[in-house]
Symmetry: C2
Subunit: 426 residues, 2 copies
C-alpha cells in the first residue's frame, strides 16, 4: 500500500515559496534583535519533562505536551515553550556569564492542541530575553524591541495595541482594593484570563457567582483602559505608577499605542510582575499576537542565585495571520537569478562559465537534460525563471552569450563580465 503524503496533523510542510516567506520573517526577527545587541542561542528540542512541571501552566503539562519515555526510560518532552530551557542554560553557567545577558532564539515548539486559525501543533517562536536588569529600563527595552519588530514589518500604530499589566497590580486590586478573599480572587483570575473569549453577559453571571456584591465594581475597573480612568487608590499604588511611567517612556519614543489592562494575565505561572501583550486591533483577527513579561524566579528554580529577567515570545503563525490580515505580507519572488540553456552537448564545457557566473554572485541553474531548446525554454518558464542564457559551442568559443529576459522577451548579446551586472541592476 502506498504511503500517505500528508504531513503530521496540525504541522506544516514548507515548500520553497513557504520557506522563503518564513525566511523573510526570521530575517527581520534576527535583524532587529541583533541591532539591539542580542545574541542568538539554541538548545535541543527534547527536554526533561520535569523542567515544565514547576512553572509552566498545568494545562500545558498535563494535556498538551508531546511527552514520552526514551529508550533509556527517561521522561522527556518536545519543548512546548522556550522559557524554561533558556533559564536552564543561564543557570548552568550562572557564574561565568557576563551580565546582563541579551539573548534571542528561534525554536520550534510543540503543543498537542486542536488545530485552528492561528494555532497549530507546532510553531516557530522568536524568544527575546534580557537577564540581569531589574529596573524599568529593562521593561522599556524589551517592549521597544517587540514594537520595533512590528514596525519593521510595516505595521502602523493603529493596527495593534500593546496591553500592559502586572500580576502584582491585579492581586492588589482584587484582594486589597476590592477585598475578595483568596478563593474568590483565584476564581476571578481564572475568569479574566479568558475575558476576551467570553460574551459580556456570561462574564457578568460568572462574576455574580463569585461575589455578587462586587460585580459592578469589578466590571468598572476591568473597563478602565488607561491609568487616568482608574480609581485614585489604584493610581497611587507603586506598581500602577511603574506601569504609568513605562507608558510615558514608551510614548516618548513614539510608542503611543499602549493600553492599561488590569485583566491581562498571560497563562504562565512563572510571571512575577509586569506582563504585556501585543493585540491585533482588526475586528477580523481580534486576538493576541504575542506577549511576554517579567519572570524573576525561573533561573533560581535551577538551584542558583535568582536573576531578574524579562522577555517575550513571538510565534510565526499568529504573526503571519496578522501580516495577512493587514496586507503586510511581501511578494515572494523566484530566487534563482539565471537559467542556462545548453545548445548541443556542452554541459561539461560550460562548467567553467557556470563557476564564473556563480563567483559573480548569481544563483545559476543549468538545464542538463540535453532536450531541444524550446522544451528547455518551456521548463524554465514553468519554473518561473526570469533570465535565460543560451550556451552552445559557438558562444563558448566567441565569449558572446545571448541573455534573454523572459517576462519582456528582450534579448541582448553580452560578454561574461556584463551578465551579472545586467541581471542585478535590472
Amino acid at each position: 500500500m502506498a504511503l500517505d503524503t500528508k504531513p503530521y496533523k496540525g504541522a506544516r510542510d514548507f515548500y520553497p515559496a513557504d520557506k522563503q516567506l518564513q525566511n523573510y520573517i526570521f530575517g527581520i526577527w534576527r535583524e532587529v534583535a541583533a541591532s539591539y545587541g542580542y545574541q542568538e542561542y539554541d538548545a535541543p528540542i527534547i527536554e526533561p519533562l520535569d523542567i515544565y512541571a514547576a512553572k509552566t501552566s498545568q494545562e500545558i503539562v498535563n494535556e498538551q505536551t508531546y511527552s514520552f519515555e526514551d529508550r533509556g526510560g527517561r521522561k522527556v518532552t518536545l519543548r512546548p515553550e522556550m522559557t524554561p530551557t533558556v533559564s536552564r542554560m543561564v543557570a548552568a553557567k550562572r557564574q561565568e556569564l557576563a551580565l546582563p545577558l541579551r539573548w534571542y532564539s528561534i525554536p520550534n515548539l510543540w503543543r498537542y492542541e486542536r488545530p485552528q486559525r492561528g494555532r497549530l501543533r507546532e510553531h516557530w517562536q522568536l524568544n527575546v530575553d534580557l537577564f540581569g536588569i531589574a529596573g524599568i529600563e529593562a521593561d522599556h527595552e524589551i517592549i521597544a524591541i517587540a514594537d520595533a519588530i512590528m514596525q519593521r514589518f510595516g505595521a502602523k500604530r493603529d493596527m495593534y495595541v500593546i496591553r500592559l499589566n502586572s500580576r502584582q497590580l491585579t492581586n492588589y486590586i482584587l484582594q486589597d482594593f476590592i477585598g475578595l478573599n483568596s478563593e474568590q480572587s483565584a476564581a476571578t483570575i481564572r475568569l479574566i484570563d479568558r475575558i476576551h473569549k467570553i460574551p459580556a453577559d456570561e462574564l457578568k453571571a460568572a462574576l455574580n457567582d463569585i461575589a455578587a456584591d462586587k460585580t459592578d465594581q469589578l466590571l468598572n475597573i476591568f473597563k478602565a483602559h488607561s491609568y487616568d480612568a482608574l480609581p485614585e487608590d489604584i493610581k497611587n499604588h507603586k506598581i500602577a505608577q511603574h506601569l504609568h511611567k513605562l507608558e510615558m517612556m514608551l510614548a516618548r519614543g513614539g510608542i503611543t499605542n499602549t493600553k492599561f489592562d488590569v485583566t491581562l494575565m498571560r497563562g504562565f505561572d512563572y510571571y512575577t510582575d509586569i506582563v504585556f501583550e501585543v493585540f491585533d486591533t482588526n475586528p477580523e483577527n481580534s486576538r493576541a499576537i504575542f506577549g511576554g513579561g517579567r519572570y524573576d524566579g525561573l533561573v533560581g528554580a535551577f538551584g542558583v542565585e535568582p536573576l531578574p529577567t524579562i522577555g517575550f515570545g513571538l510565534g510565526d503563525v499568529t504573526l503571519h495571520d496578522f501580516l495577512q490580515t493587514h496586507n503586510l505580507l511581501p511578494t515572494i519572488k523566484q530566487p534563482v537569478d539565471l537559467c542556462v540553456i545548453t545548445i548541443g552537448d556542452v554541459y561539461l564545457e560550460a562548467q567553467k562559465l557556470l563557476t564564473d557566473l556563480r563567483s559573480d554572485g548569481l544563483k545559476v541553474v543549468v538545464d542538463s537534460t540535453g532536450r531541444k531548446i524550446d522544451k528547455q525554454l518551456k521548463s524554465a518558464d514553468k519554473a518561473g525563471f526570469e533570465w535565460i542564457l543560451f550556451v552552445g559551442e559557438q558562444e563558448l568559443a566567441s565569449g558572446d552569450y545571448k541573455l534573454k529576459h523572459l517576462p519582456s522577451g528582450k534579448e541582448q548579446s553580452l560578454g561574461l563580465g556584463e551578465i551579472a551586472k545586467t541581471i542585478k541592476t535590472s
Copy 2:
C-alpha cells in the same frame, strides 16, 4: 529540589559563541546550495513512523528512532533522516511541481545512539537533492556541490577523498563476476558495509566463513581503488564505465580527489545506483564525513509515478570534527558593535541616538544599570565589547561623543555621522 541544568543526554546546548559557529556553517551551506539554484524547504520534525519502515535501514527503525504514540494514538517519530520526508513532499505535489526540482533543507535529526565522537543523538544536516534528472549530469552536479562546500570551508584536495561506487556494480561483482549465491552475497555486503571498522585479519576470517575459495579474489578486488586496477570484465561493465566517466567529468573541473571503492555501501535500503562518500584522509579522524547517492524509487513509494533522484546529507557534527582536525574553524568574534555607557540619568534622552546608530547598521547595546562609569566599563570589558561610546547630558547637547576602542585604549571625539563609519572600517 532544584532542577537539573544539563541538556538532554547526547544533545547540545548552543550558547551564543556555539550558535555563531553553527550559523557560520549554515551560512556556507545556504550560500553554496543557493548559488547552484537550489531552493530551501522544510517540514515538521514529527513524521508518521511508517514512512521509515519501507526503505530506511531496519537498525535505525527498530533500535534508533525516537518513536512514540501521540495523544490521539498516532504512531509517530522524530525524523532520523530527511530523505523519506522530502520524497513525501515531492510525491504530494508530483503533478504541480515544475521539474527538475533543486531543493535543500537543514533539518534537525534524531537517533537514539550511544553518544561518541562524531555521533550525538541529534544533529543538523544539510540535505541537497535533485529530482527529475536520470542522466550522469545529475550525478556530476550533486557531487560538484558536495565538493564546492568542502572547498568553500577551505579544505584542500589532500584533506579528503570522494569515494564512488554503485550498488549495482557491487551486486554484479559479487554475484556475476565472483559467482557468490544470493545468501553469500548478502552476507558479504553486510560485512563490507563495516570494512573500515574491522581489522584486516578479522575481515579475512569472516570472508573465509562465507566462501573460503573466493576470499583472495574478493580481497584483491576490494583493494582496487581505481578504475584501472579492476579486472577487465568489471571495467567493461556499463556501471563501471559510468563511474569512470563521472570521475573524468569531475576531474575536468579540478575535482581530482576521487576514488573507486566497490566496498562502499551506505546504510540505507533506498539507494538504487551510484553512492558516494566524502572521507577524511587524516589518520586521526579517518572516517566518512558525509555521503549520498541515487534513490530513484522513494518518491514512487508514496503512490505516484517514480522520479529519478540523487542527493546527499551533510551533518554538522562530523563536519565540525573535520574542520577542527584540519584547523579550518573560523575565529568567533563578539558580534556586538558598540556598547553605550550612560553618564547620569540619560537613558531616555539617549534613545534617539541609539535608534540612529542602529539605523546606521550598528548592533548596539546600552548599559542601563545607572552604575558608575568604571563599573560599566568593567562589565563591557568582561562581555568582550570592543567599542564604547560615552553618552551624558553634555554629549547629547553638543553632539560630540567620545568613542573608545577598548583593546587599544584609543579614544576619539566624533559626531553621530562618523561613529558607524569609524567602527565598520576599523
